[in-house]
């Protein structure tokens, strides 16, 4: 009679392996998603800031233009 | 850009003479500075001895086992001391503003690489030349075999060739000194491995057939990395 080997039950390791694989891939995808979301939030914030900046710069330019117009009309009156 | 083209024009006219002169000048400058202060060599030497001491306690070997780890201990020591030397050598360059001065000179960038490579190599070899007899005396083993000397030479060349390039990079980062071992050890692993194998082979008195492969590997590594580092060095020291 020959000795019949039984196949060892290593399914626990297999499950561990696949679970870990999916977890690592999942974490990586999540990290990309979160980073992307953060960058988009930064962008909206920065866009907002830029708009405020250009608005501020527009204001004094507008008031300066108004002043110039006023003094111009004054001069013409004299 | 204009400066570079003028420099290149100047170089192409006086090409090779200028190149080797520059290398010689850099090496000479480093050697003279070092032999005035012994700053690098003393640090590397003391450090090497301390490392040997630590290994002695850490491994606590009987005479027989000690023989089998001699090659490993030696190369670990050389690697650590080498890192120290490379770091300091480049840091000195940067701190004293010598690097900027060299860059302003109408010299091919790769001459700077070769100059630093050779001076770093000389310092490493000097330290090894002192550690080797010291180890022989402390552990009563005869390390003076021509084969071993050859391996030490080839290994040091390989280690310093990459080390000089990586040190030039790491000294320009925020993390400076700390970064060099992180960059260097994985890359230099092949050199260290081949060197240990070859050294061990010579110390054991193994067949030449067993030693020829690591030696060829060392030679190959040296050639590949000297060539690559020299070609790529320009990109490291641009302004």
């Amino acid at each position: 009679m020959f000795l019949q080997e039984t196949t060892p039950d290593t399914s626990g390791y297999m499950i561990a392996g696949y679970v870990i694989t999916f977890i690592i891939l999942g974490i990586y995808v999540a990290s990309m998603y979160l980073r992307n979301r953060n960058y988009n939030q930064d962008m909206t914030l920065l866009d907002e800031m830029e708009r405020v900046e250009t608005a501020k710069q527009a204001k004094p330019a507008a008031t300066a233009a108004k002043k110039a117009a006023k003094s111009g009309t004054k001069k013409s009156r004299k | 850009m204009a400066k570079q083209s003028i420099q290149r024009a100047g170089i192409s006219r006086q090409s090779s003479g200028n190149f080797f002169q520059a290398i010689r000048a850099i090496v000479w400058k480093d050697l003279r500075a070092e032999f005035r202060s012994y700053e690098l060599l003393s640090a590397m030497l003391v450090f090497s001895l301390l490392v040997l001491l630590i290994f002695n306690f850490a491994l606590e070997l009987d005479v027989k086992t000690r023989q089998s780890v001699t090659a490993g201990v030696l190369w670990a020591t050389f690697a650590f001391a080498g890192t120290l030397g490379l770091n300091r050598s480049m840091a000195i360059e940067k701190d004293r503003g010598c690097l900027d001065g060299l860059l302003l000179a109408p010299v091919d960038r790769s001459a700077i690489y070769f100059g630093k490579f050779i001076s770093n190599l000389v310092f490493m070899l000097i330290v090894e030349a002192i550690v080797l007899p010291l180890y022989s005396v402390l552990y009563n083993t005869n390390l003076f075999q021509p084969g071993l000397i050859l391996v030490i030479l080839l290994g040091s060349i390989g280690y310093t060739s990459v080390g000089t390039l990586l040190a030039a990079m790491s000294v320009q980062t925020r993390t400076r000194d700390v970064l060099l071992p992180i960059l260097l050890f994985p890359v230099a692993f092949a050199v260290l491995l081949a060197a240990v194998k070859a050294s061990g082979g010579f110390l054991d008195g193994s067949d030449f057939s067993e030693i020829s492969f690591p030696i060829n590997l060392l030679i190959g590594y040296d050639i590949i990395f000297i060539a690559t580092s020299f070609m790529v060095f320009d990109n490291i020291v641009e302004e």
């Binding site: 690592i24 990309m32 960058y39 | 990586l166 970064l179 194998k197």
Partner: protein, 232 residues
């Protein structure tokens, strides 16, 4: 903030499906290996991720050369994506290798040549990120990164050959035989199909993650530029 191109959205879905399909094939369809049992099934993903990661690393070295020649930062962005995705895949490779090793060789780790080279290669590319982190100037960061990736890429195969000096217990499944390798098995046709499917699936998954990562890098660059503009 451009929306994802349709092609990429489709690729995302396809990649996920392929991943699940490859897992299904490996776990339920492929036959059980006689000597090791079920743990051998991790082999399909182990080789799948290894193959893709190594190609990724070689690709990275090529990108270094392209960047250093063209000095176009676009290639730097692509390189970062390639390295990052490769690092993740190779990490999976190493962990799966360790999980396979435990029942097969009765140890979680061994300083065997392939494993050691794998660990070192992974460390090289982690060092790549540490190098980049220490540099603020984008141009210098790109240059240094490219140089290191090139040097690292050149050293990896040399390291592998260097360690081949030593005997290995790592199984050699495809190239030749090694009498001392434990855990070697020969593949049946069913195993072969699961194996090649896994290779194919991971190639697609790599491309998907890689493309996504490049887009992330583009967004990042836009944010950096905008930051500079606003704080001027």
């Amino acid at each position: 903030m451009n929306s994802k191109p349709l092609a990429l959205k489709i690729l995302d879905a396809v990649s996920l499906l392929l991943l699940l399909a490859a897992a299904y094939l490996a776990i339920f369809v492929a036959p059980t290996e006689k000597v090791m049992g079920d743990v051998q099934r991790v082999f399909y993903f182990h080789i799948g991720t290894a193959w893709v990661a190594l190609v990724g690393f070689v690709f990275t070295a090529g990108l270094s050369v392209i960047y250093l020649v063209t000095k176009d930062l676009k290639w730097d962005r692509i390189q970062v994506a390639a390295v990052e995705v490769s690092v993740v895949f190779f990490l999976i490779t190493i962990i799966l290798g360790s999980i396979w090793a435990r029942p097969a060789w009765n140890t979680w780790w061994t300083w065997d040549p392939r494993l050691t080279t794998a660990a070192i290669t992974e460390l090289i590319y982690i060092a790549y990120f540490m190098l980049r982190q220490g540099i603020d100037d984008p141009d210098r960061r790109a240059r240094f990164g490219a140089v290191y990736a090139l040097i690292g890429g050149l050293s990896a195969p040399i390291t592998f050959f260097a360690i081949r000096l030593f005997r290995t217990i790592h199984p050699v499944v495809i190239a030749g035989t090694n009498a001392e390798a434990e855990g070697t098995f020969s593949m049946t046709p069913e195993m072969r199909s699961a194996f090649f499917f896994a290779l194919f699936a991971f190639t697609i998954i790599f491309i998907d993650l890689f493309w996504n990562r490049i887009r992330l890098g583009e967004t990042q660059d836009k944010v950096e530029q905008l930051k500079l503009k606003v704080t001027m």
